[in-house]
Structure formats: structure tokens, C-alpha cells
């Protein structure tokens, strides 16, 4: 694989811009990242292969690993992809893209699992592209797992694009697991046409500093768009969920629903921008960000933003940041559940609300398991 020159000085001044004001990645500019392809042993890959019945696509440092993958028709791998004319090229992102393989998905029988690993003995930077293209009336379900292995402080910059044509239905789950020393700057670009439905979940369970960008273009009438997110972070972890939804046509519904629990010195940033174009009447857009803070030093910033050029729209936003609900805790305790267990149960309930509606059982089980491992007192829930 030929490597692109990677000019990481682009990170130096990002935090001086409005879009990055709460997320400082300037330290990345001083790191000499490797851009190598490394072999990952089979057993590591196996631990992330959670549903052997499904298609399984493995990219290691952005390079397709044929031996570990199970590919069916409707899935294509392209070594060289051209972003010209792609959905991503419609907007502008400050996140650079490295040369990588591209997975194109045009059909799915069940859920397709994609595992993207970043690995290396020294700090390694990689991208990886997934393009989900659902033609008229097609239904596609994809679950991605992003894992940086080891504690070298890798940088992963994945790019996922969804094209949902008229009446198509796309479900995408992206789970970020693995090392807590890694940086992840990810992009998701979505284009939807008339009467299509897109549902995405972005689940952040690991990483040192993460930014999950979502940019959606609703280019037809009667579109349903759901962008959900969940995170559970502690210590000095940082997540920045940065969304922009463009309502370009009338009668579309969009929802941003992000929730998380923060412990230690962890920090979350939520920016949800709704843009309603002139003429996009009867737009219904909701932005919600809910946080539970477990420590005095944890920090949640919510920035709901509305940019509306039309009357006759319903745009709502709500943000809550607080502690565990005392009323609910008393209710559980009045049923004999001890204080610590009641708190655990309520934390689990809070986050589980965004896992519950994942259609893929194997993926849901794995994420629930991962969540419980990371949660104080999670073992108690597991015994139930």
C-alpha cells in the first residue's frame, strides 16, 4: 500500500475555530505517526467476531484483510476509491483522510459486521472507509466495531457514508471499543432521498479523545432520520459528538438523541446543529443530550443549535445534566435493592435505553457486556 503524506500540523490550530472550541487535539501535531500495515493475529480478530453467521469484513490499519473476512454478494472492496462526488465531499470536515481500502455495501441479508482495527508498536494513524448504498426500497443493516489495539496512542480517522435512496432503510451501529490511549476522529455522512429511513447509533466505550462527526442531508420529502449516541467515560477521556442535520425538503423528521455517563475528569461535548432550508415546511427536528455526572470534576457541554429559514417547523432541543435520580433510587431501594446496586441499576437503565432498540441481538449482547464490564458494580447486573 502506498502511503499518503500525512501532514498532521493540520491539528495544531483546530481548537481555535468555533467548531472545535471544546476539543483540543493540537498535541496530535507533535506526534510522528506511522502509516504501516501490520498483521494482527487471528485470535485477536476472533474476539471481535461476535456473530459467526453474519458477513464479517476486517480492515487492519485501513487495509482489507481477506483471510479473516467472510464476504457475500452485495459487498465490494475497492483498493482505490475516489471521493469526488461522494457524500463526504459535499461538506467540509477538518479531519484529514488517509489512503485506505473502501468497503461498499449494496445489499444485506442479515446484519453485516465490519471490524476496523488499528495496531502497531508505535503511534499509528489510519483511516477506513465504509460506503453503504441502499437503492430504492432496499434495507441494509450494518454494525461497525472500531478498535485501537494496545497503548501506543493510535489515531483512527474512519469515514462512513450512507446513501439511502427513495424508500430505502439503513441501520448503522458504530461501537468504539479497545484502548483508552487512542484518538479517534470519525466522520459519518448521510444522504437521504424521499421516504427513506436511516437510524444510526454511535456508541463510545473507549478512547482517550474522540470526535464523532455526523453530517446528514435530507434531500427528499417524508424522510425519517434518527441519530442516537451513547457514551460512558471516566478518567481523562473526552468525547465530542458533533452533528449537523440539513432539512432541505418538507415533511421530514429528524432526531438526535445522545446520552452518557461521565466519571472522573471525563468530558463530553455535544453540538447538534439543525439547519432548515427555506421551503422545508413541516420539519420536525429534535435534539436531546442527557448526561449523568458521577464526579464533581466530570464535565458535560451541550450546544443545541438551530438555523431555521422557514416558518411552520417544529424544532425542539433539550439538555439535562445531573446526578442519579433520587426519586428513582428510593423507589428501587423501597423494593429491597441496596443503595449501590440501585445506583448501578439506574446507570444501566439510563444507558441501556439507547441499546434496547438495536435490532441485532449478538451485537446488543456484546455491547451490553462491554458496558457492564466498564461500569462500577456492573457485575451485579450480570447476575440478574
Amino acid at each position: 500500500m502506498t502511503t499518503m503524506t500525512f501532514d498532521n500540523t493540520c491539528f495544531e490550530n483546530l481548537h481555535k475555530t468555533e467548531a472545535w472550541m471544546y476539543t483540543n487535539v493540537s498535541s496530535l501535531a507533535g506526534i510522528d505517526f506511522a502509516l504501516a500495515t501490520t498483521v494482527v493475529d487471528e485470535s485477536t480478530i476472533k474476539t471481535y467476531d461476535i456473530a459467526p453467521a453474519n458477513s464479517f469484513i476486517v480492515l487492519v490499519n485501513g487495509v482489507f484483510n481477506e483471510d479473516a473476512s467472510r464476504i457475500e454478494s452485495g459487498i465490494d472492496i475497492n483498493a482505490n476509491y475516489d471521493l469526488a462526488g461522494s457524500i463526504a465531499s459535499r461538506g467540509s470536515s477538518d479531519i484529514p483522510r488517509l489512503e485506505c481500502d473502501s468497503v461498499t455495501i449494496t445489499k444485506s441479508a442479515g446484519t453485516i459486521h465490519i471490524l476496523q482495527l488499528v495496531t502497531g508498536d508505535c503511534p499509528t494513524a489510519a483511516s477506513g472507509r465504509v460506503f453503504i448504498h441502499a437503492a430504492d426500497g432496499e434495507s441494509i443493516s450494518v454494525a461497525e466495531t472500531h478498535v485501537c489495539l494496545g497503548d501506543s496512542g493510535h489515531l483512527f480517522m474512519p469515514l462512513t457514508e450512507i446513501m439511502a435512496e427513495a424508500n430505502a432503510n439503513v441501520t448503522l451501529v458504530r461501537a468504539i471499543r479497545g484502548s483508552n490511549t487512542a484518538y479517534q476522529l470519525g466522520q459519518l455522512h448521510v444522504s437521504q432521498h424521499e421516504s427513506s429511513e436511516v437510524q444510526t447509533h454511535t456508541i463510545t466505550l473507549a478512547g482517550k479523545c474522540l470526535r464523532n462527526e455526523v453530517c446528514a442531508y435530507l434531500d427528499g420529502k417524508h424522510i425519517e432520520s434518527n441519530f442516537d449516541g451513547m457514551y460512558m467515560l471516566g478518567e481523562n477521556q473526552h468525547v465530542d459528538n458533533h452533528l449537523r442535520i440539513e432539512h432541505n425538503f418538507p415533511n421530514c423528521n429528524s432526531r438526535e438523541f445522545y446520552k452518557g455517563i461521565l466519571d472522573g475528569n471525563a468530558k463530553s461535548v455535544f453540538t447538534g446543529r439543525i439547519y432548515v432550508k427555506e421551503g422545508a415546511t413541516e420539519t420536525d427536528a429534535k435534539q436531546t443530550n442527557q448526561n449523568i455526572l458521577l464526579s464533581d470534576n466530570a464535565n458535560a457541554m451541550a450546544r443545541p443549535q438551530l438555523e431555521i429559514y422557514n416558518d411552520d417547523v417544529a424544532c425542539t432541543h433539550g439538555a439535562t445534566t445531573g446526578e442519579i435520580d433520587e426519586e428513582a433510587k428510593l423507589y428501587l431501594r423501597s423494593r429491597g435493592i441496596p443503595k449501590d446496586a440501585a445506583e448501578t441499576l439506574l446507570m444501566f437503565a439510563f444507558l441501556n435505553e439507547s441499546l434496547e432498540d438495536l435490532a441485532d441481538d449478538a451485537f446488543k449482547r456484546t455491547l451490553t457486556d462491554e458496558l457492564l464490564s466498564a461500569m462500577p458494580g456492573g457485575e451485579f447486573i450480570r447476575t440478574l
Partner: protein
């Protein structure tokens, strides 16, 4: 003389610095159903919350004994494990965990407290089916988040269902009739009546006499301004219905009414 199930002596309690209970005395024996009636603000729900161990209420004076044990020394969860159940006036909604899941945690926490073995999944589900049927509760509801999206009637039936599941010694019902239509009221009352037995006592808090047509109490107490102004048999509820609470409002000093 046998130890009373519940013995409240000169109980004073306040919330956020406001004195609500001003010397309540009440004794409940096993097998008895006591009803506490009173106007809004008289302290009925406070009494229920204090019994359940709600942190927001501070007991400033008096004693509560539950089966001879000093109740005020126990935390809310320990009280539940010891055998006190409060059916909430406004049950909390908890999306994200199903009622089944939550109840399994509750049942097993109590069994652990009592040094009993945990219930296995099959036995637990059998128990759920049986008890849900007793209050005509659709078990599909139990796979939803706790009380999530339940109607008023469903919430109250779910409380009685939980009560049946947890098999308490003392059941405290806090205005369980509020917000119920006649049919729902009857189902809830039937559920409660099924649980009446010589090994259990009830404190039924209500604003209206109509609940007591269905759950016929052994004793009725009128709570006025934080004190029990009058106690009597079930006929007292009917007298209250006719005369209203105003007739009892000067009783707390010890005068005689009726």
C-alpha cells in the same frame, strides 16, 4: 401479649424544615387493616414516606417499631427486606430496565438479606405469571421499562403486583385509589384483598371512603394536622364521608366528636 407488627409512638417528622407529623401514635397487629384518612396536607403521605425510609423526611421525635425492631435504624432497602412494602402514590418511571429485570433484582436482594438461595429464572417467571394474573396485569407490560408509558390504572395494578411478588409483612398503600376509575379500583382492591391474611398487616392511606367499600378496614384513623384526631371502626369512614373533615378539625386536642 404478642409483639405488634407496627408500633408508632409520638412520631414527629419534618420535611425541608416544615413540621408535618406532630405526634402520631398507631399500633397495627398482624391480620389487621388500618385505614388512615385525612384532608390534603394532613401528613398522610408523609407518614407513608417515613415508614418506607425516604431520606427527605427527618424524624425529630418519637419511635417506630416493626416486629419489635427499631425501624428508624434501618435504611429504606433494609426496611423493604425486613418486610415493609410501600405502594407509591406516584410510581416512578424507569425506562431502560424492564419490570421483570428490576423485580428479579428485588426478589433476589430480599432473599439474600434473609439468607435464602436466589430464585432461578424458571421459578421466577412462574411466580411472575401467577401474581400478574391475580391483578389482571398483562405480562407484556412487564417487558417494558419499569412503569414506562403505563396508564394510571396500570401503574397502580403494577404496584399491587409487586407487592404480591415481594410477599411483605406490612403493606402501606399511599392513595392507591387516586386516579383510578371504578373498574380499576375494583381490580386493585381485589388484588389487595387476596393478600389479606392473618400473617400480614395493612395501612391503607386514602382520601376518599370509596376505596374502603372494597377494602373493608378493621380500623379507621382520621389524621388532621399531623396527629390522629380520631380512631374508630369502619363506620367512621362513612361518618367522615357524610360530615367531611371539617367536623374533626378541632379534635386533635382530645375533644370528642360525633
Amino acid at each position: 401479649m404478642t409483639t405488634p407488627l407496627l408500633e408508632i409512638k409520638n412520631l414527629h417528622a419534618n420535611v425541608e424544615g416544615n413540621d408535618i407529623l406532630k405526634g402520631v401514635n398507631l399500633t397495627v397487629n398482624l391480620g389487621e387493616v388500618h385505614s388512615i384518612m385525612g384532608p390534603n396536607g394532613s401528613g398522610k403521605s408523609t407518614l407513608a414516606s417515613v415508614l418506607a425510609g425516604h431520606d427527605a423526611y427527618e424524624v425529630t421525635e418519637g419511635e417506630i417499631y416493626f416486629m419489635g425492631q427499631d425501624l428508624l435504624e434501618l435504611d429504606a432497602d433494609q426496611r423493604a427486606c425486613a418486610g415493609i412494602f410501600l405502594a407509591f402514590q406516584y410510581p416512578v418511571e424507569i425506562p431502560g430496565v424492564s419490570t421483570k429485570f428490576f423485580l428479579k433484582a428485588a426478589v433476589n436482594a430480599m432473599r439474600k438479606y434473609r439468607g435464602e438461595e436466589e430464585l432461578d429464572a424458571m421459578d421466577f417467571l412462574d411466580l411472575v405469571e401467577e401474581k400478574a394474573a391475580s391483578v389482571k396485569l398483562n405480562t407484556d407490560l412487564l417487558d417494558r421499562g419499569v412503569n414506562e408509558g403505563f396508564s394510571g390504572g396500570e401503574k397502580k395494578r403494577a404496584e399491587i403486583f409487586q407487592m404480591a411478588m415481594l410477599n411483605p409483612k406490612l403493606c402501606v398503600l399511599d392513595e392507591t385509589d387516586s386516579g383510578l376509575d371504578i373498574d380499576a379500583l375494583r381490580i386493585v382492591a381485589d388484588g389487595v384483598n387476596n393478600l389479606r391474611n392473618p400473617e400480614r398487616g395493612f395501612v391503607v392511606i386514602t382520601h376518599y371512603q370509596r376505596l374502603l367499600d372494597h377494602i373493608v378496614p378493621d380500623f379507621v384513623h382520621v389524621l388532621i394536622d399531623g396527629q390522629i384526631a380520631k380512631s374508630g371502626g369502619k363506620e367512621l369512614a362513612i361518618e367522615l364521608e357524610e360530615k367531611g373533615y371539617a367536623a374533626f378539625e378541632n379534635c386533635s386536642t382530645g375533644c370528642c366528636c360525633g
